[in-house]
Symmetry: C2
Subunit: 438 residues, 2 copies
């Protein structure tokens, strides 16, 4: 490959021909003229790896390409310069990426799970071989957040990242917010429209957001935050009632990945969060993604776009490929140093934030006194209270001042154990973040 002239066509092996693979191939064909003007050379798909060649034959192939089913064939094909991995999952994806790098081929992938869970070895291998390992498509689809953190904000000390990183969750929460739908109904609609998988767990339980957050933390601070250590909670328990109460206080509920650098330690997690309506993040509707980054030089930078879908994600895959096509030096992680250090993690239970706290209690004398005592005992100071409804059990909603996560959990446990509590309390974080005005 090193022998190749920079004006020779760049030859691609495409692993996976699902939504994103097809979108990418379509972009390459439809925008051929623009791509040629920018890359200065032709980009050609030679082989498409699929599980079942016979079944795949019914589908339109990229011009000049052929299907193959042998996992090892792309790495062994000497014509291929770049492997594009879009099969997903961990084991097989890891194997073909490793093979490709070993064979001296650049790699582009949209595989956030693989890079979050065991990316470091692959990045190290790519660095040793001086090869590109592009992954713009793995975080927020068409939003160039990888490029931005890696290059555009490279002279900043970053102080925070806040992101709506999962379009499925945002679609569901937006439907619940604007159309007052219960969670199950909104999920069903998202599934019917193709925004959510039949097994939606990775999305709605926050795992997909956590994968992306781990990658953003690595880019922002050049450290490894083990994905398994990220505190994560999803959106299954959010009710239209919560959304309504949040609105009365001036907030929208969003599933937010957040990471703050405080006194050289990282506080991070994925949680449903009440976002003030004055924030652009609160206005992110439908299945859009958005990321708000803050740095000591740039101030705040907010980006909003389509985080999934064949064309936006294909656009990000193609952007990485064009960088490879132009030649130049790989800057995969944004750091020239070798192995990245482990993140210095602020223990999640000591993280401090304002909280929204909803109880369902019997409407009888003494309840407020008992709840207030539990809050006081756990060092939680109350900012606002809201009580509504007239039935036997009523919702009782608190907005707290900043309180430690452990104190919030303990208070919730204590309240759940009280006779007057007719359901376990529900609590969510509230922006502004630590350091913001409170």
């Amino acid at each position: 490959m090193q022998d190749k002239n920079n004006s020779d066509p760049l030859v691609v092996g495409l692993a996976g021909f699902g939504t994103v693979g097809k979108g990418f191939a379509r972009i390459l064909e439809e925008n051929q003229a623009e791509i040629f003007r920018r890359a200065g050379r032709e980009i050609r798909i030679k082989k498409v790896l699929v599980r079942d060649v016979t079944r795949a034959r019914t589908q339109a192939l990229p011009p000049g390409a052929s299907f193959c089913a042998d996992m090892d064939e792309l790495a062994h094909d000497r014509d291929i310069d770049v492997l594009i991995e879009l099969i997903g999952g961990i084991e097989q994806a890891e194997r073909i990426i490793r093979q490709a790098l070993d064979a001296g081929k650049h790699v582009v992938t949209a595989n956030k799970a693989l890079l979050a869970e065991q990316g470091e070895e692959l990045f190290a291998l790519a660095a040793r071989k001086k090869l590109f390992l592009g992954y713009e498509a793995s975080v927020c689809g068409g939003i160039p957040v990888v490029q931005t953190l890696r290059e555009s904000l490279a002279a900043n000390r970053l102080t925070s990242i806040l992101g709506i990183l999962n379009g499925t969750c945002n679609y569901i929460l937006s439907a619940m917010t604007t159309r007052n739908m219960p969670f199950a109904e909104a999920l069903k609609e998202a599934q019917d429209l193709g925004y959510a998988e039949a097994d939606p767990g990775l999305d709605i339980d926050g795992v997909d957001s956590a994968h992306k957050l781990a990658l953003l933390i690595r880019l922002a601070w050049g450290v490894n935050y083990p994905f398994r250590k990220l505190p994560v909670s999803g959106i299954r328990d959010i009710t239209p009632e919560d959304i309504m109460f949040a609105r009365e206080f001036g907030y929208n509920i969003k599933l937010l990945g957040h990471a703050y650098m405080e006194n050289d330690r990282i506080e991070a997690g994925v949680f449903p969060t009440l976002v003030p309506n004055s924030y652009l993040l609160a206005r992110v509707g439908h299945s859009y993604n958005a990321v708000r980054m803050e740095g000591n030089a740039v101030g705040s930078l907010f980006m909003h776009g389509l985080g999934a879908g064949e064309l936006p994600t294909g656009s990000a895959v193609a952007a990485d490929l064009l960088e490879i096509a132009r030649g130049g030096k790989a800057n995969n992680r944004g750091y020239t140093s070798g192995a990245l250090p482990a993140a210095d993690i602020l223990p999640p239970e000591t993280a401090s934030a304002r909280h929204y706290f909803r109880l369902t209690v019997e409407d009888k004398p003494g309840v407020m006194r008992d709840v207030a005592s539990i809050f006081a005992d756990n060092d939680i100071s109350i900012h606002q209270v809201l009580q509504k409804g007239q039935s036997r059990t009523v919702p009782l909603v608190f907005m707290t001042h900043k309180a430690k996560a452990l104190d919030i959990q303990n208070a919730a446990k204590a309240i759940a154990g009280c006779a007057f509590a007719s359901a376990a309390p529900v609590y969510y974080r509230v922006l502004p973040p630590p350091g913001g005005t409170d």
Copy 2:
């Protein structure tokens, strides 16, 4: 310079030590550790070109640097690898950039006026010499819109760019909108706070926005749109009344640079524009900048951040410098081809858009009939009308359907000539754009 090892310090000559120059130097010093980790080498300012060395001496110099006043000294200093041009203006800036490129030095500049008015020759020179000519700082300060159009969206056919490209104008319009201030008062406040120059013409008449728009058009479509041909109008004539009427129709007034690609022709300009409240662009407050790009693969992509100020702009200068420090190949314009073709420009008078139209008329019978006839004669169809007030002269506000710019101008002239018109009509464009739902 070619002899230098990639781990040797990168030596900078800094031309200009005003707001941005100082901000850049401060970032280099304060974020030294982060920058070193990302660049893999030290970055050092050796000389700072100022007009008056004696006066400059009262100011803190970057560590190890010295002041100089000889324009030619930076280009002749063999130690210097990169010239950073922050003196502004056209002639002197052009001279020192040209000298630096001739001497084989990379260049980073924030000079939008120079690059918009005569950038092509400088880009051609940089291309011949295979040198970087970075200009992220020249458009929207800390928002990485140059990088995004040049690389992240490189596989797209762009369909439109809409931008709030001038923070001074946005500050003034935001103050007028949220605090009901007249223009002159808001301008005065912006000047007192340092958001506007003593001579604010470049900002409030839209010229600065037009410079930036010309650069964005070049990046988006790889063509040269002569800056002088861009239709431009500023914000001097906007009244609190206009802002109030716009709000009643559901819009905010913003100074927008826009460019649409329609049937292979570019329709572009800088105009006060009514932006629907549902758009994120309508929510851009204070002195923030924002850009909304749309491509056939990525869909819509919106970015929001600080478009001016020492640190955000310094952050963008430093990002370009880090790209140079890492080595690699320059991709200044985003196109590998040589000279870029001239833009195929849709004649501005044939551009079609919805319009807001405010007349000040005597309140007497027959006026509405006469105005309606003039609109009909000029092929303008009316969507909504609003009449308010009870004095002798009253404002009469129309929202039109899509109409050609020339027809709008002719109707305005005809109305201005009528006896019942007590002031010249005021008219502004209304989003959504051509192709949007109307």
